[in-house]
Point group: C2
Chain length 284, copies 2
């Protein structure tokens, strides 16, 4: 347990970046509400300006940004043009980018989503993409296949921080005799990270929940922990939940608590610095 | 059980359309492979020509088309421009459009996806969108809220036809003591369809599976049944699985088996007609 990540893998790239700038993933969530509060138009041009301000504020301050795809998709293709621009700006600024798309499908359809988010020639190519495993972790194989040899990653939503998710995520596999869905998924992800995809597959594990049965230090991939800041979990909870996880493997994900400090670049950067330092202390 | 759908609801609109042109939902899946076989460029221009041929072939022949979003997203914003054009052409031709997006998230993010796919002002607005409930059916409320008053629909993936999905979908809720995830979801969907969202919420139920515990005729929403044709299920299986479901509530979904008859419009239309008539006989 708690071994260092496979060289060149997504987990290794995240660990290196976290060592430089701390364990925070800053969300880029241009909701209608935030655009209004920032005095930006609720329009694709507003998305671009919102994203540019975030990139300028977060570069060099945090290692990873996470644009929330839904807020761009809301404007259809014009919103996706804005997303492509934000992704390009963030990567140029040296930030790792997690595309929070939560895609999930099967077969050739899943291959197409893999192309969209992980093919280096795609305008949407990101360092890692989030995915949903309702159709089975095995159905996400095309993502893993495309991500692994490039050092890109896939972050599977396992334990969400919202209460509505508990019924499904706590259901017992093997028709009631096996582990909970979430623990079965964590175990299967750990298995993937022991093979040729070492360090490729991560998990979303909400920071506001009590620990489940699976020992998180053995995951072998990046853990993205939403629910930090505005959504509730503080440093003590984060520290307890992820105790023993390898250095640089946990990214606390903060969105509203940081973005609420906009629209100035200085305000955003300061809020990100505070959240980052708090989480660095919690996870050290 | 087996009551007729609430007037003006998505289920009622589907039932009316099925009464006119039969129970087939024709996929619009411009995969790289099919584009090549049709002699079209693997490029957004190819997507548009593929979609236009489908719309021309399917209008008046089947009631519903289902563009698979992943095959458009593969080209980023340029692919989404093509999707917007295909959706507009299909709706102009009098076809109902199901956007096969399988989106799923929580809170304001889910609201943003609802805007993207169900707001009448969105360039991506469709008659119904598919969704994933890994984060809980309750997390999809923003979709239901936006869909219901407009007679639009949400089709939740419940039982997928791929084997990798069984572990999760058959897991037992209530920590092992309750119904399977899929039956719990079907029951919760039926509850939604008894209230102010009557006829709004449908389910994807793979046609290749044995029946689960929930009595499908009581769902109160549209059932989309993939796995017909190239993927395996024939008329006998479809007829048995959906016996007793209300007239016009089941859409057999065929993609590869019909699209393989392209690229000519006549060939596509003929294949759709054959599949439609086979399913009409099975479901009568």
């Amino acid at each position: 347990m708690a071994e260092s990540a496979a060289p060149g893998s997504f987990a290794a790239r995240v660990a290196t970046a976290v060592a430089a700038t701390g364990p925070l993933c800053a969300g880029i969530d241009p909701s209608s509400d935030l655009l209004q509060r920032w005095g930006l138009p609720d329009h694709p041009a507003g998305l671009r300006r919102f994203g540019s301000a975030c990139v300028e504020a977060f570069a060099g301050v945090v290692p990873v940004v996470k644009p929330q795809v839904a807020f761009f998709e809301r404007f259809g293709s014009a919103g996706m043009v804005a997303l492509e621009s934000v992704i390009a700006e963030a990567r140029s600024a040296g930030l790792l980018v997690i595309g929070d798309a939560k895609r999930g499908d099967i077969g050739t359809t899943m291959e197409a989503y893999a192309s969209a988010w992980l093919d280096p020639d795609s305008p949407l190519a990101v360092d890692a993409v989030t995915a949903l495993a309702y159709l089975g972790l095995g159905a996400l194989e095309p993502l893993f296949d495309l991500a692994a040899p490039q050092g890109r990653g896939v972050i599977v939503v396992v334990r969400s921080s919202n209460p509505e998710g508990r019924t499904l995520q706590e259901a017992r596999t093997d028709r009631g005799r096996g582990p909970a869905v979430e623990d079965q998924l964590l175990g299967a992800i750990a298995d993937l990270n022991r093979g040729s995809r070492a360090g490729t597959v991560g998990a979303v594990v909400g920071a506001t929940l009590e620990p489940s049965a699976f020992p998180l230090p053995e995951l072998g991939g990046v853990i993205l922990a939403p629910g930090v800041g505005a959504q509730g979990a503080g440093a003590a909870e984060v520290g307890a939940l992820f105790a023993g996880c390898p250095a640089g493997s946990v990214l606390a994900s903060a969105s509203r608590s940081v973005l609420g400090a906009g629209p100035t670049v200085a305000g955003l950067a300061q809020a990100a610095r505070v959240a980052r330092d708090e989480m660095a202390a919690a996870l050290s």
